[in-house]
Amino acid sequence: MARFSDENLAIATQIISLYPQSRSALVPLCHLAQSQDGWLTPDAMENIAELLGLQAAEVLGTASFYDMLHTEPVGKYLIGICTNIACMLNGAQEVLEYAEESLGISVGNTTEDNLFTLEETECLADCGKAPCLQVNYRFFGPISNEDFDELITNLKSGSLGSQIPDHGTINRVLRKQGLAVSMSEISSQRAEADKQIAKRKAAQAALDASQKGEGK
């Protein structure tokens, strides 16, 4: 299964309706596809293209720009270790090397059981907890070698449960409703508001002018 399920198709339709131009939904739909399949499959890109009135190549061309959109399969758990400056100053390189050794893979690869993919990342914006990492975009830090072992054990045994959904799911909270006010209704409200603002400005200008006149 790589096209959207009925349930996800309904979510996709709502997402598209939130934007003045449907193409804006491209990245959110790629995330939705990844949450369904774990990665961005060619069928999903085809499906997204149909929904947005684009070519599949345009979806791929855009998706390939973004590090989080994976057009090749990845493990159930994507481990991203930050080695940028604050983490580097606090031993991130050593953590990364330890991770490579203990998982038996080098950066960019997936373990044979398809459980873990290892990535070296740029700053994850959790530098106060350096050195830090993310598993499927959930934060852990500061991380020592022992912490890393424990994390891997827990991921393997499943004891972290729903704290870390499978790769691809970044946001489990659905938007409850579509737009509350239609775009055309908003436009007419704004036109009305603009008129009032212009009126107030004109009145203020007239007042200023008359006060100036009095002051003479």
Binding site: C123, A125, A130, V173, E185
Partner: protein, 434 residues
């Protein structure tokens, strides 16, 4: 050292349990600022923000009120809140998003009202999974409560907010790239002029782009008045900033401090703040405003946390992130790591940035690995000069955005501070730091 009294403008709820829920938010004065704003004319709201002299917290430090006043009058206009936070060592927006999403939403609504925009988007870095969930949850609550959507809080004002996830690309934090990304495209910055967002922004319509922290200040400003805000700090640096402190410090983290009143030394050494350097080591250098800002040596520790004073001293307060290095830090390696970041994140549109960043990374990498050549330091300067001619501060721009031109000043400041260390790597082929 005497610290100023703590002032909590944006981080007042950080310590509360369930700080992210509507319940907590309403119990602590939430949505009062919005109510007050809705009782004012939009221009009066902008006036308060002008009086507050709220400087943008995203990096460039442009006055928010002035930016709003420059929004081109047009039947359709948009607001985009920038929560893409990816500047190395910057992590304040991350916590503003996770810990106080309602404050962010209330601020967004106030900005949306003042600018009478047609729709507002909150763009959140894709890697902030928890943040995305918290903001979406808060937005759902806010819709139910009547603070977003149709006839907000019983007023005539209606607006929809959409939470939009990024997908991993530093350059999307640059405002025009952010807009491209929000349009469903690759995050390629647009050239200014003509593409100033306030004139030609999202879908070609006038658009305000403001940072998460900038917007998070708005509820307080409207509640307490722009002049109360301006009474904190000094000169143009008003209010507080959420400083993100990282690197070689005992207590890294984020600290909200009044602008200007404290110094870098206070932030790094005060027992209630950074707490000094581990093992009592010596501070050898610090970066005052995120990875794109030039480094300072210990002689600048007594500089005030003030946008204009840091600029005068040859660097920038930027995103408010302070990175500390000590005697265990190899400056060559630190500098190489930053260059590698820029080389990786260059979007590739402009030759000086795309090629130059790659060259600089290669040269720095071989110096770092002990394979440097005598002429490499000259070569660094030469390549830098090709990216940003004359190597002045602030850097000259030959590229579409400032990512490229901001690389040389950082390397050159490291080179200036640590020339001996660079030479030692080249001459001895070894790193004294192991």
């Amino acid at each position: 050292m005497t610290l100023s009294q703590p002032v909590n403008i944006v981080s007042s709820r950080f310590g509360l349990e369930n700080s992210f829920t509507l319940d907590t938010y309403l119990k602590t004065g939430g949505y009062k600022g919005l109510r007050k704003a809705l009782s004012m004319d939009p221009e009066q709201v902008t006036q308060q923000v002008l009086t507050a002299n709220l400087l943008g917290r995203g990096g460039a430090g442009f006055e928010a009120g002035r930016k709003w006043s420059m929004l081109k009058p047009n039947p359709v206009r948009y607001l985009v809140v920038n929560g893409d936070e990816s500047e190395p060592a910057t992590f304040k927006d991350h916590y503003l998003i996770e810990k106080d999403p309602h404050q962010l939403i209330e601020g967004t609504l106030i900005a949306a009202y003042a600018n009478q925009v047609n729709q507002a988007f909150i763009y959140i870095r894709g890697e902030f999974a928890l943040g995305l969930e918290r903001v979406q949850q808060a937005l759902n609550e806010a819709y139910d409560y009547g603070a977003v959507g149709r006839n907000i809080l019983g007023s005539q004002f209606s607006i929809d907010i959409v939470v939009h996830p990024g997908a991993g690309a530093y350059i999307c934090g640059e405002e025009t790239a952010l807009i491209e990304s929000l349009e469903g495209k690759r995050g390629f910055p647009r050239i200014k002029p003509p593409y100033f967002p306030a004139v030609i922004g999202l879908y070609g319509e006038p658009t305000i782009v403001n940072n998460v922290e900038t917007v998070s200040n708005l509820p307080w400003i409207i509640n307490n008045g722009g002049s109360s805000f301006a009474s904190y700090g000094k000169g143009r640096s008003t209010g507080t900033r959420l400083f993100a402190l990282s690197g070689r410090v005992r207590q890294p983290g984020f600290y909200e401090l009044e602008m200007h009143t404290n110094t870098f030394r206070d932030l790094i050494y005060a027992p209630l703040l950074g707490g000094g350097i581990p093992h009592g080591n010596e501070l050898t250098a610090f970066i005052p405003g995120g990875a794109s800002s030039p480094w300072f040596g210990p002689d600048h520790l007594d500089l005030a946390l003030d946008q204009d004073e840091v600029a005068k001293a040859g660097s920038m307060l930027g995103s408010g992130s302070v990175i500390v290095m000590d005697s265990t830090t190899c400056p060559v390696r630190a500098s190489w790591r930053l260059v590698r970041f820029f080389a990786r994140e260059s979007c590739g549109q402009c030759t000086p940035c795309r090629e130059g960043s790659g060259w600089l990374e290669k040269i720095m990498s071989r110096i770092e690995q002990g394979r440097g050549r005598e002429e490499d330091l000259e070569l660094l300067l030469d390549v830098s000069d090709n990216i940003s001619p004359s190597l002045s501060w602030p850097p000259q721009q030959t590229t579409i955005c400032v990512l490229g031109p901001s690389i040389p000043p950082s390397i050159l400041s490291a080179l200036q501070l640590f020339r001996d260390s660079f030479l030692l790597h080249i001459k001895e082929g070894a790193c004294p730091y192991g």
